[in-house]
Symmetry: C2
Subunit: 146 residues, 2 copies
C-alpha cells in the first residue's frame, strides 16, 4: 500500500477514530499484530511490544481519565516507512491519575511522535510529550510542597 | 540550495559545530537573521524571535551548565522546508541551574525537533524535550518534598 502520502492519510484516520473517538474496534484496521513502543518516556507501556488486545487495553486505560481528549494534528512529515506527527492535545481531567484525583480542569499537552508503517499497518512509535507541562497544570492550586 | 537531502546534511553539520562543539562563530553559517522559537516549552527563549547575536547568547547560556553536552542524532525525516530530528542528549551537570546547583551527574534527555529551512538557512524550530525526565534526574538524591 501506497507510500508516504497514503501513510499520512491512514494516520489522520487512525488518530481520529482510535484516539479522538475512542473506537476500540478500529484498532484492528490500523495496528499491526506486534506494536512496539520504542521510546515513550512517562507512558506506562514504554518499551513494550503489544498485541492488538494489549493495545486496546492501553487505549481504554489511557483515555479513561480524559474521555473527551482530542489530538489536533499540527504537521505531518513523512518518508518511506515512517510518518512524524507533531500535535497539540486537549482534554478534561475527569478521572483519577496516580497522585492526582480528577480535577475537572482542561489540560493541554504538546508532543511529537514518529509512527512506523509497514504496508499501511502501524508497527510502533517513538514519542516525546511535554509531560513536565502537564505536571505543572495538574499541580496548580495544590498546596506547594517545596 | 538543495532540497531535503542537502538540508539534512546541513543540519548534521550545524548540530555538531554549534551545539556539540560550542563554536559560536559557526552560528553565522547556519542561522537566518531572524530565528523563531515557534514552540519549545521549558526553554527560556520559547516564543521569541532571535537575531544572530541573541541566538549566540542563547547558545552560550544554554551550554554553560552542560559544557560537554552532545546531541546524538537518532533519525532525520525531511520534506521541502523542514527537517525533523529525533535525538538523545547527554551531558555532565557542571554549572548551576535555577533550584539545582551543579551535581556533577550525567544527565540524559531525549527530544524531537522540527527545524525550518529556507534556502539552506535555519529559520526556526518547534521542539519537545523530555524535561520531566531531566527533572527526575536532577531531583535524585535530594530530600523528598512530597
Amino acid at each position: 500500500m501506497g507510500g508516504p502520502s497514503s501513510d499520512k492519510t491512514r494516520l489522520v484516520r487512525f488518530i481520529d477514530a482510535v484516539w479522538n473517538t475512542g473506537d476500540v474496534a478500529a484498532v484492528d484496521h490500523y495496528i499491526a499484530d506486534a506494536y512496539t513502543l520504542h521510546h515513550d518516556p512517562g507512558d506506562p507501556w514504554d518499551g513494550q511490544v503489544l498485541d492488538r488486545a494489549a493495545y486496546k487495553d492501553r487505549l481504554r486505560r489511557s483515555r479513561a481519565p480524559f474521555p473527551d481528549q482530542r489530538f489536533a494534528i499540527r504537521d505531518l512529515v513523512a518518508e518511506p516507512g515512517r510518518v512524524v506527527m507533531t500535535w497539540q492535545w486537549t482534554a478534561t481531567h475527569r478521572g483519577d491519575l496516580p497522585g492526582f484525583p480528577a480535577t475537572g480542569r482542561t489540560i493541554r499537552m504538546s508532543g511529537a511522535t514518529v509512527y512506523y508503517v509497514d504496508d499501511g499497518w502501524f508497527t510502533g512509535h517513538w514519542q516525546i510529550a511535554d509531560r513536565l507541562g502537564v505536571y505543572g497544570q495538574l499541580r496548580q492550586g495544590r498546596v506547594p510542597d517545596s
